[in-house]
Symmetry: C2
Subunit: 140 residues, 2 copies
Amino acid sequence: MLSIGKLGARTGVKVPTIRYYEQIGLLAEADRSAGNQRLYDEKAVERLTFIRHARELGFPLDAIRELLSLSDQPDIPCGAADMIARRQLDAVRERMLRLKALQTELERMVAQCAHGTISDCRVIEVLGNHDLCLHPDHGH
Amino acid sequence: MLSIGKLGARTGVKVPTIRYYEQIGLLAEADRSAGNQRLYDEKAVERLTFIRHARELGFPLDAIRELLSLSDQPDIPCGAADMIARRQLDAVRERMLRLKALQTELERMVAQCAHGTISDCRVIEVLGNHDLCLHPDHGH
DNA sequence: TTACTTGCTCTAGCAACTGGAGCTTCAAGA
DNA sequence: TCTTGAAGCTCCAGTTGCTAGAGCAAGTAA
């Protein structure tokens, strides 16, 4: 049996975060020692590893909750899990596009900042100017 | 002079968000009408447009605050603004890398989900399995 | 003038944690 | 066995960047 600290070390999740996950019901309430300290087994390691990876991959906790509940009943079709992953993939692709635009913009800024004064520095100008805006979709 | 609603419509920023920006000092306190309603001029439109673009490009409000304070005193060297842009650029490059890895992972997941049941669905498996993990850096 | 929309302030809430205060329990060395 | 220090406990507050609601006042069009 593992203490919460060991569990955190093995999974790369901080101790308060583990307690937080328990609090919001993402992890079941842990068994306790005689002195009221949480004790974990290998199943908890797996579950928390799963959560950590999913978080790293950008899944919101709600999606993870869904995924976990799915994995608890492995006989139903995996379409739901697939859909969650697809949704996530779409979001990621969009984020990538926006970040790419941002990167280009910042690179241009840095290149154009010719060590003059702010008044001729494009860092301000580019962000204030609508015509240079890569996302002219006003109504988002 | 514009009401807060018009300002929001023109800049694509929601009304409560504008009030929030004023509250945290990102926008100066607006002039008021006889009936205590906020009134804005074209300068406010520009400033808020600047903020909106910067937010879209992923700048945190602190960086925007810095940028704005720089643009308020245009005679100082732009080294500071340049530095902020560089810092932001580094952060963006890192986010891009992580997102790229994530995208690959999700694409693999979706491709491998062969419409079976959860028990043979790789979405769950991939997230639980350490060996398939693209970020084996436990620390951080 | 009467509606109706928009505005006002204030408070509370969201995600997803993070950190601190003040206390108890555990593990290891002397 | 005692002691010391790390690690655990609970509870509460704070973070970022908003968003939503209550309960009003002000502005506007018919």
